[in-house]
């Protein structure tokens, strides 16, 4: 029988994977994708818990998280494009003009 714990564990794993990606990947877009993975992990948690808890709030939350994800995607990718225009690069290593 699959309990909520299974789902929570699964999302925890996905969350960890996403984090790993954010920490390791150089390509800005991939980093962004990894963040999406994290958000999705959270979404899974929400839905699972909302079913477990027995009310809709969690799923509503997911609904909004998706909206936010979309919005962030738009803005984030726009930023990436702007950066790319100036620097011809998508490498996160390349944005360290500002440091120390």
């Amino acid at each position: 029988m699959i309990t909520v714990t299974h789902y929570l564990l699964l999302s925890a794993i996905l969350f960890a994977i996403g984090t790993f990606g954010v920490l390791t990947r150089k390509n800005a877009i991939v980093v962004f994708m990894c963040i999406e993975v994290m958000l999705n992990a959270v979404n899974l948690t929400f839905v699972a818990l909302s079913r477990h808890v027995g009310n809709m709030d969690g799923q509503i939350f997911v609904f909004f998280v998706m909206t936010v994800a979309a919005a962030e995607a738009a803005v984030g990718l726009a930023l990436i494009i702007a950066f790319y225009r100036n620097k011809e690069s998508l490498d996160v290593d390349d944005f360290n003009m500002l440091k120390w």
């Binding site: 954010v22 929400f46 930023l79 100036n86 500002l98």
Partner: protein, 486 residues
């Protein structure tokens, strides 16, 4: 079906969101205005947005002392919210005042800039007045997303892109933790309305033993820690502040930070009260870390914007001392401090705007050598802000720090207070260094490019007035901060 509609309509209470509503509507309207106004002609948009801010402010003040609930408990416009809303409005107003000429100088006069600031402010308001995790989250996102845009606003300047990107990625990353925490809290309490969560914790206290609850609370707080730039979630701050357009930096350091503090305080004191023992420790450690790291690194900074960025980290640390106190004095102290900080920090940044060249390559210590002689008034104003940031009487910085440390000491956190004052002693050094260059060194250059932009000057005057007023007769506003606590 009908009754559902009735119910839906009953839930709506525009009073509760009036200020943010005004700003949003104004923002949308101004978008149109901006679109149809010729390129480079943005001044009227600026003034209109200020007007809308003023209106929103008035509405907020009128709503003082009459708490508005609405939207099925997802928002609550009480004194607390009103106070922070006012801080955000103030910050936004000052930002807009100091923006127009700046945008022209940086050769990027885009009208959409102002609506974005208005939306940011509205987001901040939802954040401070939200009583539902969802509202708070969405407010936060509105705030953040528009700030991502504003931080990277000069799309053809690399440092702007960079600061925008860093802010965006790290922001989104922290959002993940924030959400995870909220999810856990939701799972533990079965609701997203923070007062219900609080009630739930009240009802069954053993939940505070539940590590899922604890983990959820902490994870959520890390999201806010990121926004208020508490160590170790602070690292985005210097880069983003340095790269972003200066008015936006000023705004970020005041408005959103205040909003984040507000949300932090609300969730902490409403739904995480059960975790007081844990949280006090966490705040204690983070406060000390934040102050210390911020001040120490600031010691070795040459770039003024970056130095102020680090100093703002340190100030967040001071403010957190008020949270550690975990009593009314501390809480109101934080509010008052945020107000004070808005004045003094934005004033300082306004000065930087005036003395900066195009591209702001010259905002270094050497860059201001002898400024005090070439631009006496600017010099005096800058000194006032710096003394305020040091926390020296008779400026607001002192009264603010006093309020906070009073809270800590009242609660018995003597040693925290001692560490705090020692930190401000350390901080003296780098603030003094700015003055050393302004007055004790001979002018390198004649600062011929410095033009006293009227609007920016006005913002500086307002800031000076605020700093001195809050420094000499702070009683009234301290009283307000006291009433705003809950």
């Amino acid at each position: 079906m009908e009754n559902l509609v009735q119910e839906a309509i009953q839930n709506v209470n525009l009073q509760a969101v009036m200020p943010s509503l005004i700003l949003t509507v104004a923002g949308m309207a101004l978008l149109l205005v901006a679109v149809f106004s010729p390129r480079g002609k943005t001044i009227h948009v600026a003034w209109l947005s200020i007007a809308s801010l003023v209106v929103a402010g008035i509405v907020t003040i009128m709503g003082w002392n009459d708490t508005q609930f609405g939207f099925a408990g997802s928002v609550q416009l009480d004194n607390f919210a009103a106070f922070f809303s006012m801080i955000c409005i103030l910050a936004a107003g000052l930002t807009i005042l100091m923006s127009d000429e700046y945008l022209k100088r940086e050769n990027f006069p885009v009208g959409e800039y102002y609506p974005l600031i208005l939306f940011t402010t509205a987001g901040a308001m939802w954040m401070v007045s939200g009583t539902d995790l969802i509202t708070i989250f969405l407010g936060l996102e509105v705030l953040s997303v528009s700030l991502y845009v504003l931080a990277g606003f000069f799309r053809d300047q690399e440092r702007c892109n960079e600061s925008g990107l860093k802010y965006f990625f790290l922001g989104a990353f922290s959002t993940g933790f924030l959400l995870y925490g909220m999810a856990l809290l939701y799972g533990v309490s079965g609701t997203t309305k923070i007062y219900d969560i609080g009630a739930y914790v009240q009802a069954n206290p053993d939940v505070t033993m539940n590590i899922m609850f604890i983990a959820g609370g902490l994870l959520m707080l890390t999201g806010f820690f990121f926004k208020i730039a508490a160590v170790p979630f602070h690292m985005w701050t210097p880069d983003v502040y340095q790269g972003a357009p200066t008015p936006i930096t000023a705004f970020m350091s005041a408005g959103p930070k205040a909003a984040a503090f507000a949300a932090l305080i609300r969730v902490t004191f409403v739904c995480l009260e059960g975790m007081q023992d844990h949280l006090t420790t966490v705040f204690w450690v983070l406060a000390v870390l934040t102050m210390t790291v911020g001040n120490l690194i600031a010691l070795s900074q040459k770039d003024l914007k970056r130095m102020l960025a680090y100093s703002s980290i340190a100030h967040a640390g001071y403010a957190m001392v008020g949270l550690v106190a975990w009593n009314e004095i501390g809480m109101s102290g934080v509010m008052f401090y945020m107000l004070v900080y808005t004045f003094m920090n934005m004033g300082a940044f306004a000065i930087l705007i005036l003395i900066g060249r195009r591209g702001e390559e010259n905002l270094t210590l050497e860059g201001v050598s002898g400024l005090g002689y070439k631009q006496p008034l600017l010099g005096i104003a800058f000194c006032i802000f710096l003394f305020a940031l040091m926390g020296l009487p008779p400026t607001a910085g002192f009264t603010g720090k006093f309020y906070i440390f009073a809270g800590a000491i009242n609660a018995g956190f003597i040693w925290l207070a001692v560490l705090g004052v020692l930190n401000s002693a350390v901080s003296l050094y780098y603030y003094l260094r700015i003055m050393v260059h302004m007055y004790f060194k001979d002018p390198q250059e004649d600062f011929s490019w410095v033009k006293i932009y009227p609007a920016t000057a006005l913002s500086i005057v307002i800031a000076v007035a605020g700093v001195l007023y809050l420094g000499v007769v702070p009683g009234a506003l301290m009283q307000f901060a006291k009433m705003a606590g809950f």
